[in-house]
Amino acid sequence: MNQSGNNLNRRQFIKSGAIAVGALAAVGAGVGYLQKVTAEARINQDFLRPPGAVDESDFIYGCIKCGLCVQICPVQAIRLAGIKEGLAYGTAYIDVRAQACDFSCDSLQCVETCPTAALYFKQFKEAGEKAIAEYDKLHGQDKDYNPFPVQIEAMKRIVRMGVARINESTCLAFLGKGFKGTPRGKDFKGINRSPYTGEPKATPLKDKVYDEKICNLCVKECPIGETAIIMEDNTSKGGRIVPKVLGGCTGCGVCVMVCPTEGPSIIVEPIKS
């Protein structure tokens, strides 16, 4: 190649390179603008991050949109966001009203599978190991020694996807009403493992029939139990028997999914950091 050809090449490269840098700057400006507009509004009751999610500002780049957590979730609670979420397009989220995280995996494998620690497993691992160590001391000699239920119990207890909040103006219990039938209708696709039946796997909610004098579905189906939500008897104080959310709530959203009112009378509010 002769000298003038080289120069022409170089000039071409500098010219198109400048256009490329300009295009990149435009993309950057667009991303910066979208970040400003959407970051605040993104996380809400219909768009919660899966268990163990790091802070949203880290999650947005930590989540490489691979979908490994989506595949491993046995109840398919985790989905990948659509284009309307802007920059969060393709990232993992849970819409608890459609399908809650009911912990029927018994291992938090979505967190363990995440390669980039956008879902951070170490905290759960340590909690589980600590629980096993304590259980060892007490039950190490037992014939049917099985530490795994203790481990998963300790792990799921520290999940904080959000905190449930009851809307007292629409909640059936607060209105003194009961519930009879199937809460979300016969076409609802969501599944969960009811803690009171001892069933090994999650089963469709549309097959479950309730007959409660005072509606207590949220309390009955809660996978965490009495540290998270209870029915509080206020009758002695002239009140009613109503659900009450406690400090152990993990924000898993099973209560939101099973709530029989048209719009859910209980929602999971994301924790603002």
Binding site: N9, F13, V31, V54, Y61, I64, C66, P115, T116
Partner: protein
């Protein structure tokens, strides 16, 4: 500036030395005698479709064969990470401190795929795995047809633009604290669309394809894609290559016609080859189109170093 073609070329072959003359044919007869059976293209498309299908099979049948998507996956339990995603996440997390949390699987996944393509030909990822390549290959056919019919003009740019984008997207990632490229990456978008269901983002793929068809041949793959640029860097020292034998070549240039990166076949032009044997460079996607089309079998797959041992 970038070339390394300073060595003096070998003298051009005389007509008697041409492979068709040795067989007693004219160049035209010799070319017409060759029936392109598209052997390597068939194999390559089968691998490409098969691998992408494996992702879909794994999720629909709930098998642990090949989980995840091309952005990050797990093959029989071993993690594989997209290299450019890895770079972006690393760059940002070194600033924010998230790097302390990154898992061992992340590290293993990156090095596994890095080593694999170091041996398996760098950009072979492009033509053997990338689903966008598959679409763009058809787009390219359409583009070539339109150029031939003089409906459109060809626009080409400098191929080193890729490295401007390669660095540029990393800088962008750093400034915006966001893996910007993954939002635009047609590989990830197509892979996710196939595995987790389609979305409106596919319009972006359509826009890219249309641009490639009507304006510039293979625009994204040639001048933008930093994933391909990464593999091209990895492919600098790779043993799997396309080998060129000067004595079997009649300089018909059929191979450059079909080649996705014709500059890597610079030595096929009469009077340019500096050695009797050449290997296509690191931009070569090892697609095998030239191997299929060559009338004299002057181009073939090889593993560098093996030739000497055998």
């Amino acid at each position: 500036m970038f070339g390394k073609k300073n060595k003096t070329p070998l003298p051009p072959k005389s007509k008697e030395e041409m492979p068709f003359a040795k067989m007693g044919l004219s160049l035209k007869e010799w070319r017409n005698n060759h029936v392109n059976k598209h052997k390597w293209r068939t194999i390559r498309w089968s691998v490409l479709i098969g691998m992408n299908l494996l992702f879909i099979i794994s999720i629909t049948l709930d098998l642990a064969l090949l989980e995840g998507s091309l952005s990050g996956s797990r093959l029989l339990g071993f993690y594989l990470m997209d290299p450019y995603n890895t770079f972006q996440v690393l760059v940002i997390s070194f600033v924010t401190g998230h790097w302390k949390y990154l898992t061992m699987n992340f590290v293993i996944g990156f090095f596994t795929i890095f080593l694999f393509y170091f041996f398996a030909g760098g950009r072979s990822y492009c033509s053997w795995i990338c689903p966008y390549h598959f679409l763009a290959e058809w787009g390219e056919k359409l583009h070539d047809y339109l150029v031939k019919k003089k409906k459109i003009k060809e626009h080409s740019f400098n191929i080193y633009l890729r490295f401007v984008f390669w660095g540029g997207f990393l800088v962008l990632a750093l400034f915006t604290k966001n893996i910007v490229f993954e939002d635009l990456n047609p590989i990830g978008i197509l892979s996710r669309a196939m595995i987790y269901g389609p979305g409106l983002i596919l319009l972006w793929i359509l826009a890219l394809l249309v641009f490639e068809i009507v304006y510039s041949k293979r625009f994204w793959c040639r001048y933008v894609c930093p994933v391909g640029a990464t593999w091209s860097l990895v492919g600098k020292g790779t043993p799997l290559a396309i080998r060129f034998d000067l004595d079997k070549c009649a300089h018909c240039l059929d191979c450059q016609q079909v080649c996705l990166v014709p500059h890597e076949l610079w030595f096929v032009k009469k009077g340019t080859a500096t050695h009797d044997v050449h290997h296509a460079g690191s931009d070569c996607t090892r697609c095998g189109l030239c191997v299929d089309v060559c009338p004299g079998n002057a181009l073939s797959y090889t593993i560098k170093g093996w030739e000497k041992i055998l």
